[in-house]
Amino acid sequence: MNRKEFLKKSFGAGLFLGTALTFGRYGELMANTAGNNSIPYDLVAVRNGEPAEMYERAIKAMGGISKYVKPGQRVLVKPNIGWNVTPELAANTNPLLVKAVIKSCLEAGASSVHVFDHTCDDWVKCYKTSEIERAVKEAGGKIVSGDSEKYYNQVEVPQGKKLKSAKVHELVLESDVFINIPVLKNHGSAKLTMAMKNLMGIVWDRSFWHRNDLHQCIADFSTWRRPDLNIIDAYRVMMKNGPRGRSEKDVATMKFLVMSDDMVAADAAATKIFGMQPQNVPYINFAHDMQIGNMNLDDQNIGRIKM
């Protein structure tokens, strides 16, 4: 039995709960630990900075990266690398942000930082053209393929209404810390794509979601494994023709960044930054109702940083 199999089997065999406790959100829900008190903000939003600097400010306000990444832990960073376009078209997460996140994880003592996406366009080209492959390598992380079904393992989604199971990339199962870094953009199917929609990139069969009420499936899958940290890149924002975009004319430079442990809150804030209301994005409502997170920003302690 190799290491990978061992990890898979132990996961399936009931270490789930023990591991989940270290995953942050589950831990908070089950144990109501004192750790919660050290979180100064539910959500931090930054504007007017460069991607890496906005990240630095936000993570500091959230309590520092070492709150999320402990020495020796395996970290998975999941950007959006779905399309074979350059960073200027803003269809993929900003490579400078990806680089900054990986660097800080390694500085916090992470044993490894892996990065992948199940791309829409040819993955080799996506990784290259998005400049994310280069950013990952420069930062000391490992870029991994998500392009074969062999990487994906069946998981149950017990709380799902429409989506009861999915095939998920093994790295998500093997990692101790899961950091979700989507890009905010217009989306022809889901209206907007941000944190929750970005999780579609860790599953194999996406056409099932499209056939079975996309919005409900997005919310359903968000019950399965909440990322420990969500960082929404809204530096360049594709305002229309998403998710692929057509040219730089679809892109507005907005220089925002949103960070939260709560995907629903993060998506609600990003929706407002985009100029829409969270109530108008069905999956945000579904997720709120399923108690995956809180879409009411008024109830929350929000850090606002202008640079």
Binding site: K4, V144, H210, N241, R244, A268
Partner: protein, 520 residues
């Protein structure tokens, strides 16, 4: 003997040729450089001839070089350049590990090679490529490597992946297989089997009986300047040379060498201990070097409807077809014209130039280029088409146009490719998820690079696709992504002649004004 080094020279050239050409076909990583691919294949006879016939460019002069070399030195091409020829030598080398193989002189098979060459030329002149694509040795080799061996290479790669991953190394990665039409495997396998059997029993019998290039070059080598001859003064009739002659063209009984069949392996030179085999200048110069094959004619391709091919191959094609599990769509897709890859210019252009070598099938990063079965008619079996079930054409990619050795796909600049319309999008609303299930979907519009497919308001705050075929380039992203089964709700109707799509009209977007503050 002064010419003993010739065999070593032949073997080293052959080794390099085979290695590079094999890698070009086996590569599933996209790392094999496009330019090198074209360079390596420049000398391939039939691809080069076809390029010359269609483009009259430097890229198509390889076959003239081959004919000149043959006129001077004999069929060096067959032993050192032709990958199928070299493959036979490799097979022989392996077979000899298990079995002592000795050849002996045989008379050539009567008529067959001339008839096959004649048919190939005749059908080629009429624009039919069935004989050419079935018999061109380079294309046969290509199909064996692309269709049969490439999946094996992938399997070996996939076996290694877990070992690397155990050390947290992701530099090699899993690759998936895409199942081709069963009849394509069958043809590639049948040729491989026949060639292995013939090689083990009679050496290069295939090259001297079936191969049209071998026959054609044989006409030239018959008169070539240098050639293998027996020095009757020194010969002891030990038969060593006859036993190693893969072409079975040395007759010691008659003390002759049939140089039209000699494939210039130079084994006889190396093996003779008595200086009785000579490689020397022929006094009588060849005067008939201009075996010319005229260019193909697209207009008359229809003349060659090979019913026989259809009868044999049709039942095979139905095997191994994809079985779909999910059904909501009820309206069948009636595609009247299948789509040809970018750079082909038009359907007839592709069908009169493609030899079905499947190099583009190997090189395409998304599997969208697939061998056809009966989509263009049976006489075009195995020639390539765009299969949007298998994949879709990456907007920015021009790789297939860069590497095609026959000129069936001609190079396209990226900017031109992004506007080249291979076909037009068609929407079948009655199959669409948005209508049948009353939920949002939008897979098609998501993937569309030009926004020829756009989501517009529909009942109950839903959005449904709207198509604009003027800016559509027919890449098939929408068709590939469409989740309805067994029929798609959106598909590409091929253009018989590719045209330029209109450039989309664009307007700079503006960011919402948050007055330099936060909207929450």
């Amino acid at each position: 003997m002064t010419y003993k080094w010739l065999k070593a020279f032949r073997v080293s050239i052959a080794f390099v040729s085979l290695l590079l050409i094999s890698l070009a076909f086996l590569d599933f990583t996209g790392l094999f450089p496009d330019k090198l691919m074209k360079g390596v294949l420049w000398l391939q006879f039939i691809p080069s001839l076809l390029t010359f016939a269609s483009a009259f460019s430097l890229a198509g002069l390889g076959f003239i070089a081959v004919m000149l070399i043959t006129a001077v030195f004999g069929r060096f091409y067959c032993s050192s350049v032709c990958p199928l020829g070299i493959l036979q030598d490799v097979v022989l080398r392996f077979a000899r590990l298990f079995k002592k193989i000795k050849f002996r002189y045989h008379k050539p098979v009567k008529y067959l090679r001339h008839v096959l060459l004649g048919l190939t030329i005749l059908s080629g002149l009429m624009g039919g490529m069935l004989f050419v694509s079935f018999l061109d040795p380079y294309s046969i080799f290509g199909r064996i490597f692309s269709d049969l061996f490439r999946p094996v290479a992938k399997a070996l790669n996939n076996l290694l992946v877990p070992l690397f991953q155990a050390y947290d190394n992701y530099s090699i990665y899993y690759v998936d297989y895409y199942l081709l039409n069963f009849s394509v495997y069958f043809v590639a396998f049948a040729f491989l089997a026949v060639i292995i059997i013939l090689t083990v029993k009679h050496g290069r019998l295939y090259c001297n009986t079936v191969c049209p290039v071998g026959t054609l070059l044989g006409y030239i080598s018959r008169f070539s300047f240098f050639r293998i001859r027996i020095d009757t003064n020194n010969c002891t009739l030990c038969k060593k040379c006859e036993q190693v002659c893969k072409a079975e063209c040395i007759s010691l009984k008659n003390q002759t060498v049939d140089f039209s069949r000699c494939i210039s392996c130079y084994n006889c030179l190396t093996v003779c201990k008595f200086d009785a085999i000579d490689f020397s200048v022929q006094k009588r110069l060849a005067n008939n070097l201009t075996n010319k094959v005229a260019p193909t004619d697209a207009g008359r391709r229809q003349a060659l409807k090979t019913i026989v091919g259809g009868l044999v191959l049709a039942p095979l094609a139905s095997l191994g077809k994809e079985k779909e599990l999910y059904y909501t769509a009820t309206v069948p897709v009636n595609r009247t014209q299948y789509v040809t890859p970018p750079g082909s210019g038009s359907v007839p252009d592709l069908l009169t130039k493609c030899t079905a070598c499947h190099l583009c099938v190997s090189a395409c990063p998304t599997n969208v280029i697939q061998p056809s079965s009966s989509e263009f008619g049976w006489e075009h079996f195995m020639q390539v088409r765009m299969d949007y079930f298998a994949g879709y054409c990456t907007f920015e990619c021009t790789r297939c146009t860069e590497i095609c050795p026959t000129g069936a796909l001609l190079p396209l600049k990226q900017d031109d490719k992004k506007l080249t319309q291979l076909g037009k999008v068609q929407f079948i609303e009655d199959n669409c998820i948005v209508k049948t299930e009353s939920t949002d979907c939008g897979s098609c519009a998501e993937h569309c690079p030009t926004k020829a497919v756009l989501m517009v308001p529909y009942e109950n705050d839903l959005r449904i696709p709207e198509v604009d075929d003027k800016i559509c380039i027919g890449c098939g992203a929408c068709e590939h992504a469409c989740p309805t089964r067994p029929f798609r709700a959106i598909y590409v109707e091929g253009n018989e002649v590719h045209v330029m799509a209109e450039k989309p009209k664009e307007k700079q977007v503006e960011a919402p004004d948050h007055e330099d503050d936060f909207p929450f």
